[in-house]
């Protein structure tokens, strides 16, 4: 790693000010950023650790029935605290990486990073969540802009993510066994006014909504409703772990499993 300074502010306002320095970068749980720094793929002058900011940690129900998760909340906390209210989200968080990764990694870091194989983007897009920053609110449909790219401006901090709680939901991932990221992961969420389906791990453009599956499942929320529906493998990730065609096939399989498991 190139060297850098570390600051640990106690409030969002102080963190935003610290991020105003040239080449400053936010440090969430460090479970992506520290490995990246070790590879010298980034060279910030200052890391602004968000771990000391109590106001962006925790899980609670909002007045209008949504689930609010602080941007600095760890995966382990979400797995524990969302279990009673939003099992699909808790299940997703509880299967990210391994216990030590879940004790450090945060939802804000995961969404900001927008790894094409990350799990949380599927939940955010699959429920139509709102990503709240120190400056504004961004709809999930506008937030993800292709792999490792989001609508966030430089120095903008995710302070909260607000999830509409579905009637039933599930995230099913086909794990890449070495990294434990999603080779393909599908989040299915059934709401009173329709079904949303988000797919991660598959596309070269990162997480996406599978419109045909949403229409079919909105008409009939059953695995068979997806019979005969396919996605094209042409724009899908093609690597040593699987071809685009294989991933396209897995999208259908994991979507059916998610519908069958939804609770």
């Amino acid at each position: 790693m190139y060297n850098f300074d570390v600051v640990v502010p106690g409030s969002v306002a102080e963190a935003v000010a610290a991020l105003g320095e040239e080449d400053a970068q936010a440090l969430g749980g460090g479970q992506t950023l520290i490995p990246t720094l070790k590879q010298r793929l980034a060279s910030p002058s200052v890391l602004v650790s968000l771990s000391g900011i109590a106001e962006i940690k925790g899980v609670c129900k909002t007045d209008d029935g949504q689930l609010s998760v602080g941007g600095g909340t760890t995966h382990a906390t979400v797995a524990r605290e969302a279990a009673g209210t939003f099992a699909g989200l808790a299940g997703l968080a509880g299967h990210i990486g391994d216990p030590a990764v879940r004790n450090r990694g945060t939802i804000g870091g995961s969404l900001a990073n927008n790894d094409p194989s990350a799990c949380y983007p599927a939940a955010a897009l699959g429920t139509g969540a709102t990503i709240i920053t120190n400056a504004r609110e961004i709809a999930a449909d506008d937030f993800f802009q292709g792999m490792f790219t989001t609508d966030l401006e430089e120095g903008e901090i995710i302070t909260e993510v607000r999830f509409p709680v579905p009637e039933a939901s599930s995230y099913q991932k086909f794990e890449q066994p070495a990294s434990r990221f999603a080779l393909v992961g599908v989040f299915v969420a059934k709401f009173a006014d329709g079904v949303r389906v988000a797919v991660t791990g598959a596309s070269n453009d990162g997480v996406f909504r599978w419109d045909e599956a949403e229409a079919a499942l909105s008409a009939n929320f059953a695995p068979e409703a997806l019979d005969g529906l396919t996605v094209s493998g042409d724009d899908m990730i093609n690597d040593l772990h699987g071809t685009g065609a294989y991933r396209a096939h897995l999208v259908g399989v994991m979507a059916k499993r998610a519908v069958a498991a939804a609770s």
């Binding site: 460090g30 990486g97 391994d98 216990p99 030590a100 990764v101 434990r180």
Partner: protein, 161 residues
Amino acid sequence: MTQVSMTVNGKAASGEVEGRTLLSSFLRENLHLTGTHVGCDTSQCGACVVHVNGEAVKACTILAAEAAGAEVTTIEGMANADGSLSVLQQSFQDHHGLQCGFCTPGMVMSAAALLKENPKPTEAEVRDYLEGNICRCTGYHNIVKAIMAASGQEVAAVAAE
């Protein structure tokens, strides 16, 4: 360089670190607590697992500066006060849960975190919890047995996968 202070295995510890100093480096190089092993340094293997404020974390993937003020427990802090092995450590020995021993500090720290959270885990829960701890020697089977036995459960039925 800045000064960081934390509590390590119940004792106050401090030292001069750079921003980029990892907790694993601080423990090994500043405090000479070399029981925390660095296997991969890429967050994959779990040999470096320690507890920070009671939670299992990979010491190679947290900065020393982030652990400032925290309570840290390493493998050196796991033995009984009289220096004898803890029940969990003794169980690793009794059940042949180690061969070369390189992964063992991380395995013990992960297992201790699991048993604190879930005192009587099933075999599947043990295997699941150890997802981030890699062992090149044992094939995991005896590690799982050691942890089940340390939790006071029958291990005869634990079968190799």
